[in-house]
Symmetry: C2
Subunit: 662 residues, 2 copies
């Protein structure tokens, strides 16, 4: 796309149109953040007007540039731009309904609410870290399909908050290391945070910091359009390094008395200041109206974008890789995967190996990877422990974007956000590993996976005190409950290699929810020795072992504790007590089953739950009168078998709990 | 204390003693991390032998230097040192029982397990961030009591993992900004992580990075004792800036064939390599035995430390601030606080203001602050929203360590870890604020507060969809459940200003557990208009409104939803249905009450729970047959009152749920 060089005057007016819409919408909502949109209006205008390659008539066109508003509280900036660009879902009514129930103009940009919102932002730092995944996906896709099909930039507007958050460190280190030259971050250097001037809390030399991470850094007056344009051009030219453009701006630029103060950050300016701002900007149009010449200038941007998109479509039509490219963006072939997993399960059931489920996960990933060539794996520096690397994988590096494995480093948070970015970009199925206890380190990004409904897969191994000697800091006890509490997240804790294979089928074919696989460190026997074509894990819970005649008790367990429940049933059998065994790998999936199925699985006999974790959440399965054998506090450092004895999670304890109930 | 200058030869032997103990203990345990202790042995020997001011016979002496092993997997390093220094709880038996059940020698250093362990480490980056709080507390205490009583350093051994984690960014920015010149961090630059060489995942120029944050950076051969000593001396001299000493080391130094490889990171060396290492080091003593001259050299360190401690005791005896100093380290005067809170409550009950509980929290903090002069507040850049600043507070800065308020910046994780460090250091009661939804951003540090039992207080405001327009990223729905799942954490969600005052009394007098206060953005009426001396919140749940005669239903609610439950009771009364109201500010405190009390509160009538959050955890209160009015998914962006209507958390909905039950 040719770069357009407008007169500065027209861009000033285009930017002022954004300022006025932002302050009017915030005032109408009586809530919101006018300061950042007003301060960033000039940067955004130059970026959109001269560089950004998007087509409002086809907002999800694959080769578009990605624009991420990491400073999500500046949402009115993007809504105002989309309105002026003519997005068909962003009419004046939406701006007037800013932050109101049912409007697309949510307080922070929400992925899926309005066209062209590339990711949900608001929790600070997530945008820049997600953008790293997008920029990485662009290069990985480019390595596979070439410049004619994949050739776009990822632009990020980030504030001081984004750069103070720890996740930004993980993100910029990763981007610098991977040489993501098409990632361009604008830092809104307005020297104001909510508490006051930034020098209340930071003395960071951001230029030096980004240079330390291998970035190009440019500095610019954020209200000088020509200087901004020169910086962006220079950033695009340096394709070997990501670029940070430090934009010195005045927060609330245009508000005559309040600009430059933290007072414009998070509250309406008030009628008086708005009137004064209109005066100062010589702006006579009524609220929510934009003079025709300015509207037309913005509409020109859309016209150019549509032309670029059409030219790309034309190139693609005759491209030899057209079919492969289109197919990489589609849902995986669920039928083929189901067949491959079924074959794999049959072999497992026949051979009945004793395997840690993390090892079983590796075996399942071999099957997934063979069927879904666009799977991209990785681990936060626990590759050998998470068993995330399968045969034939190659590491992604700045020299080889054609690889399919990411050494994410000791950066769980950056990994999870990058996985979100890869999923949002399209073209890949991303999974990444760490220890389950360190889910906490990436929880804010997992929450965004769930909120956006992104089908990424978290491989969380060492899922209990079964981790052993590393001790309580590394042993999850509350982590399962805390993940199950999160809406739209599928947590699966498989009991053996067969359930693990089924879990991977679920994770790899999910379209609207992320999956967390919770996997054991320790070896576990194959329990599903009778092969079934049906993916029983998809039911969430099922009768693993029925009784002859009526059951006296039902033992419900997950993961490594199903083996314990089975052993307890044997102990009970000695006393003539008939115990049915329910394996319950996923509470969320079970909750979705019809009541009749649920009732049949749970039965009417007393129930005992077994899980090496806290009880919270279990009452849904065992009822208020059920017994629970698990953890009540943190773990300890010792060999796994000693810990199970010490904390009383044993067949004998389960049998005793059952006897006490019946 | 005078700095001791030994011969290098003797220090090499002292270091080799650590290497041998580490490799033998890991081998005996058949699990653990020999590489880092062996690589860091020289740095640690020089530090302890020549500089560190500690007294093994009085390990918690207030003016000791703090030593933090941020690379917690190198735990055998500190156990070996303590053994050789003669800590009376670290005999050979403990080393032989490394990583075994009941031993003090846990896989990672656990605070409280063995003397001299200043903080629990293992989750990477926590140590360095906690140390920032310790170093800050030292300066704050120094500003109050002077050099004669407070004059110590905080030393940290950090690995690549610590510096890759995002929390390290927050920590080093904070330390540089606050000019913590007595914080000295050794970076174990061994260029190896679990996955392989560090250049698989990072290209960070750490020197430049730390300089960008305002640190002095020195580089040294980590096996050259004199060079290490010169660096430490230079670090101690620069009192205006924290210092990072980049120590180029070889992981597993001393292991002849495996040193320098990731194979020595996390597994025993094996008998053969250990024998070869003994040979190479000319080490003839049997496993777990240290030749007498080397033991004596280590014991000299302890002797010097004891002398330093005695000299400090002597100074303190005649110091004019002796009493104030001692008192600052003691438990708060619970009686005085109880009296002050009672007076405050009486006034609130009489005046019955309508207040957001975050505002009520500010009022309670005025009372707490007046009674506990060593309270140190702060917020992660949400001071005005968290209401954490009370009258007369002064900001802490590098120019004024005498202040008592911390602008933590947009760094929730760094804040929480620093609060842990302040609590561990002693002398202060630390509280800090953010939005409840951002508890996820600091969850790994909250987990360490709970695991260590540190009495810090988290002020988490905007605790539900009542936050309104900022939308789902800022609205906690699963956060309450996820925090309640964590062992040893007291979560309190008060319903009005009176409960908020009671909650603060609990938080400020806690000795062994952290507290999370979950506070509303929106105004709430005073419900406790009948003054009681008793702190009813301490019961966890209580009958706020009884019925005349037997109840037909019990409505149980927390926080802002108690008002809704009361309104529902009025609706039910119209139909002649008698509803008792239970306010349940803390599930954990209620769980600790005796069964008779619990049964009396819950009653035998059907129960309805009301909370603008997910149901998980509520069955403990409402039973399996109870109804629940709350959230089932993420929130939305709209004014709070619209959201409560939209999600059906209304008096009418509660009344309908009650009617359906009875």
């Amino acid at each position: 796309m040719n770069v357009h060089t407008p007169t500065q005057t027209s861009e000033t007016l285009m930017a002022n149109a954004l300022r006025v819409l932002a302050m009017d919408a915030v005032q109408t909502a009586n809530s919101g953040h006018p300061g950042a949109p007003m301060g960033l209006a000039d940067v955004a205008t130059v970026l959109f007007n001269r560089f950004l390659k998007i087509d409002p008539s086809d907002p999800s066109w694959p080769d578009r540039d990605r624009f991420v508003l990491s400073a999500g509280h500046a949402s009115m900036l993007v809504y105002a731009i989309h309105h002026l660009l003519g997005y068909d879902d962003m009419d004046t009514g939406q701006l007037k309904a800013f932050r109101q129930l049912g409007a697309r103009t949510a307080g922070h940009p929400e992925y899926g609410h309005a066209k062209g919102i590339e990711t949900t932002t608001g929790p600070l730092g997530q945008g820049i870290a997600t953008a790293v995944g997008m920029a990485l996906a662009e290069r990985m896709q480019n390595a596979r399909f070439g410049d004619d099909l994949v050739d776009h930039f990822t632009y990020v507007l980030a504030g001081d908050g984004c750069l103070m958050e720890g996740i930004s460190h993980e993100a910029i280190d990763m981007a610098g290391h991977l040489g993501l030259g098409r990632l361009i971050v604008f830092w809104d250097d307005n020297r104001i945070t909510i508490d006051g001037p930034t020098n209340l809390s930071t003395s960071m030399d951001q230029t030096k910091r980004f240079e330390a991470a291998g970035w190009q850094v440019l500095s610019v007056d954020g209200h000088d359009a020509e200087a901004i344009a020169r910086s962006i051009a220079a950033a695009r030219t340096d394709t070997g390094r990501p670029t940070m453009i430090a934009c010195r701006t005045v927060i609330g630029q245009g508000a005559p008395t309040m600009a430059g103060s933290h007072k414009v950050h998070g509250a309406p300016l008030g009628a008086e200041e708005i009137a004064a701002a209109r005066n100062a900007l010589a702006w006579t149009a009524p609220a929510f109206e934009t003079p025709a010449p300015i509207r037309e200038a913005w509409e020109d941007v859309a016209v150019r974008g549509a032309a670029a998109r059409k030219s790309w479509e034309t190139r693609k039509e005759t491209h030899p890789l057209k079919q492969a490219f289109d197919s990489s963006l589609k849902a995986p072939d669920a039928g083929a995967l189901a067949a491959a997993i079924a074959t794999h399960k049959e072999k497992l059931s026949a051979e009945a190996p004793k395997l840690a489920t993390r090892k079983a996960s590796e075996l399942a990933l071999e099957v997934v990877g063979a069927t879904l060539p666009n799977a991209v794996g990785g681990s936060a520096d626990l590759t050998g422990s998470n068993n995330t690397w399968t045969s034939g994988m190659r590491a992604v590096s700045r020299k080889n974007y054609g690889g399919n494995y990411l050494h994410y480093g000791i950066r769980e948070h950056g990994m999870a956000a990058a996985m979100n970015g890869i999923a949002l970009h399209g073209g890949f199925f991303a999974y990444g590993g760490t220890f389950l206890a360190f889910a906490d380190y990436c929880r804010p990004a997992i929450r965004l996976s769930a909120l956006m409904g992104l089908p990424v897969a978290y491989v969380m191994t060492h899922d209990s005190i079964g981790l052993g000697e590393d001790g309580p800091t590394h042993q999850p006890v509350e982590t399962l409950a805390s993940l199950r509490a999160m809406p739209n997240l599928t947590v699966i804790r498989p009991a053996d290699a067969v359930e693990t294979a089924e879990a991977w089928e679920i994770a790899a074919t999910s379209r609207t929810a992320p999956t967390v696989l919770c996997l054991s460190r320790q070896g576990l026997p194959t329990l599903r020795t009778d092969h079934t074509l049906e993916n029983r894990t998809r039911r969430g819970a099922y009768l693993l072992k029925e009784t002859d005649g009526d059951r006296h008790v039902t033992l419900i367990a997950t993961g490594s504790e199903v083996e314990i429940a089975l052993a307890a049933a044997d102990l009970l059998a000695v006393n003539g007590i008939k115990a049915a065994i329910v394996s319950a790998p996923s509470f969320e999936l079970f909750a979705r089953q019809d009541p009749a199925y649920r009732a049949a699985v749970l039965g009417t006999a007393p129930r005992v739950g077994v899980e090496a974790a806290v009880r919270q959440g279990w009452v849904a399965l065992i009822g208020a009168d059920g017994a629970f054998v698990g953890m009540t506090g943190f773990g300890a450092s010792a060999p796994a078998s000693d810990l199970y004895e010490h904390f009383g999670i044993t067949p004998a304890a389960v049998a005793a709990a059952a006897k006490a109930l019946i």
